[in-house]
Amino acid sequence: MSLTTHFPLCFLFSLFQMQFMLLFSRQGKLRLQKWYVPLSDKEKKKITRELVQTVLARKPKMCSFLEWRDLKIVYKRYASLYFCCAIEDQDNELITLEIIHRYVELLDKYFGSVCELDIIFNFEKAYFILDEFLLGGEAQETSKKNVLKAIEQADLLQEVRHRMKSK
């Protein structure tokens, strides 16, 4: 255990940054989770359960932000999937909403009108795309083209290796 890595919900360095991102379905099934703060598995499960419940209970016309513990939750529903981010008190809610949207756009572009099934079957790709876009909870590259280029290059690399292997 190291001193350097255990700050629950960014306790000590309360700088703006996304804390985690969850994707879950209307039935409450978790589809993707990405944590930018180190937490124990137990804590993660607890947070997920609590949040999924809270968000699913909200009515469609309600605002997309809510205060939860000491964090702000920004969520949006796309078809059957909820995208839900936790940010800090000082963070900008609207820009976070657009981070979600940009991610959805990226998925959409990559998979070609993305649906929940794409994310279920290709969860590793969904992760790769997210990692190209966000790093450590910060937007790394906001250009859609550049992110997709990076992903394509990676795919290309896979293909080359694959062919080499099959030869």
């Binding site: 605002c63 790093l135 550049n146």
Partner: protein, 917 residues
Amino acid sequence: MPAVSKGDGMRGLAVFISDIRNCKSKEAEVKRINKELANIRSKFKGDKALDGYSKKKYVCKLLFIFLLGHDIDFGHMEAVNLLSSNKYTEKQIGYLFISVLVNSNSDLIRLINNGIKNDLASRNPTFMNLALHCIAFASEIPRILVAGDTMDSVKQSAALCLLRLNRTSPDLVPMGEWTARVVHLLNDQHLGVVTAATSLITTLAQKSPDDFKTSISLAVARLSRIVTSASIDLQDYTYYFVAAPWLSVKLLRLLQCYPPPEDAALRSRLTECLETILNKAQEPPKSKKVQHSNAKNAVLFEAISLIIHHDSEPTLLVRACNQLGQFLQHRETNLRYLALESMCTLASSEFSHEAVKTHIETVINALKTERDVSVRQRAVDLLYAMCDRSNAKQIVAEMLSYLETADYSIREEIVLKVAILAEKYAVDYTWYVDTILNLIRIAGDYVSEEVWYRVIQIVINRDDVQGYAAKTVFEALQAPACHENLVKVGGYILGEFGNLIAGDSRSSPLVQFNLLHSKFHLCSVPTRALLLSAYIKFINLFPEVKATIQEVLRSDSQLRNADVELQQRAVEYLRLSCIASTDILATVLEEMPPFPERESSILAKLKRKKGPGNLPDIDDARRNVNGNTEHSEKTETTNKVTLVRTASAYLLNLNSTPTAGASLLVDVFSDSSTLASVEVSDENFPRFVCKNNGVIFENQLLQIGLKSEYRQNLGRMYVFYGNKTSTQFLSFSSSVTCNDTLKNHILSTSSVDPIIEGGAQVQQILNIECVSDFTDAPVLNVQFRYGGTLQNIAVKLPVMLNKFFQPTEMTSQDFFQRWKQLGAPQQEVQKIFKAKHPMDTEVTKAKILGFGVALLDRVDPNPENFVGAGVIHSKNTQVGCLLRLEPNTQAQMYRLTLRTSRDSVSQRLCDLLSEQF
């Protein structure tokens, strides 16, 4: 074209996922998963070395199972092996598994580090990127970041990687010459690099603002270029016709680390930028898409935050306020919510307070019509923030009427807010009394003790309102069903001031008594106890009802009450009324003296609930309202009966400090000047931080032992002087000296016999009261003659602030909430230090408990850490305190963090505790 079809479809994985999806029931799913897990396990364990592809496939399956919510306890090793593969896909999956599943405290971290280091050293940019994504340790990162030949995408990752490192372990990345060059990344041509670099610089600037001052001008220049650019200039960085919204927000954020620029030209350039952003809000939207308006407004809100942060340009502040005013009526719920939230901060600026007030009607309307409770909550906050003397009556009235229908979750907070506003802006105290009684009527269950204590304090301190208060509570009590809190207030006030309305035959003494007594049987024990005290006060106020009340006290239901407190009160009061003469009765039961002025306990409570940052600065004005700003520091001695507040407290508050029997007590301060300066022994002092008993001093002649006990703000210390020799100590004397600030803390010391026989032990008692927080410790001076020579000994007495702790248990949620509330930089004190003793969990636990706080289990997600909470009781205030101790066994270090509402307290406690480990 789903790009997925190309590359390597892992058929086995797809089949597995389909299987899971086809499962009809939860049981079938679990069964399928278990089968797969068994299969993978046997594959991993098998003798046959797996090729990279199968390893990858199985690791991927494990990942999927993890996503389904199952625990994965193997496969880590295989994933780490994948890192060293030279095939991209295998490496990639390895990294993915690690970043999702491996916690940083895992044993594998060394192996992982190795893999990452290899990748970083390679010249392959894709591999480097992968490694950076996984975020590792490497002092090479700064070099990668500023090197001229690094690819842009690698630079981006490197910047964010550094940021991450800096947040978690600043010591790993020393500041160096690279820092100056990082700032210049703001000028980079590649906007992606600028975006990533801005995040990094902001973090660094928050830590050491001076080193990054040069970033201000660069950030302003960059911002200015973005806001003036045509929407298409930035190509792919334009998001729904908004130029680089992410970068703009980040730049505005960076500028919030600094005060307004001093340089006039720079300042006007920034003002221009902000004006342009405000102007753009007025332009017709370039797209009907919500993304367009969101991105545009995200920048706008961040700009407003900067304007509020600078708080120096009145025109900008007023413009910002008007803009938010428009949003208050926007059809987007999100915008209404954010506008209310932002306006709260605007209300606290002197420049825009008036402008905010003009929107009062809209906000009140929002309170009444918004369908979303979180929006209504914001409206309440804003009303509270915009309240001043001119609109207090209206706002309080609106809040009260909202309270009748408010959601249960926010009622208590509204009650506190109404109580504070009513007190703070009361010009006419009859209005205040009415408001609080209304509050109890509407939401009695949510009226905390602080609220009704406070109304009693105010009524007692203000002569002009006492008659009115008595009359009003009397009327309110007439209602057939009234809340118990009202009975409490009523009982107390009539007991003190019932005489003021007794002239009226409709509220004659007997009527008052009967009215109160009619509620008696419906009340809980504490309230009954309070009523009994009110009755005895009645006996003093109205001799004519004495017989009636004695009758009541004498009844079996009182004298033989099962509750010991009630029974004791009945017995004692009855006895008192029988034997005491009228004079004595009048003295003992005299009207309560005014309470010393102090911070409103309600305000303190709201602060605890909401955090200081969210409260506009309103506490200072309060004092003027009450016309009494003096802080009475002296111990007030009252020999009068108080209507005891808590049932368990003493009956007759005959002052817990023994002022009688003065012959026994010595004045401890009188002879302090005669003492020669002796070296004060304090070597054992630190040992008493976490315990109360032990030997504080010992030499060949004398041993001084201590035993002490503390309760809330009071303490008693027994000092034992042991003569270790076989001869007498002559002219033995001891006294306690301390500096002026501490003087009030020592209430009394008992005297000691001047002769201590050989081998004998004598005892001395010290009474201590914590008046306010303190850092120094009193010194015990001992003088005696041994064999003809005069011995002088001075010992630092272990009277420390933490002795007045009262442990507080709380849930994880409460803890986090309070921790957050104490977020101001001066409230936190942190210390990192080397362990001086072996790191033993049980010993540490015992020490923390001994320190006086409650040890909170399962609050910190990391079980190795210790989290504690407690309240320091002093005469003047109570200071809540949260602490957190993080041990690092590898480095043999600790980190201790303390947060309290007072910086001096945080500092002192941190100093005390950090010496213990």
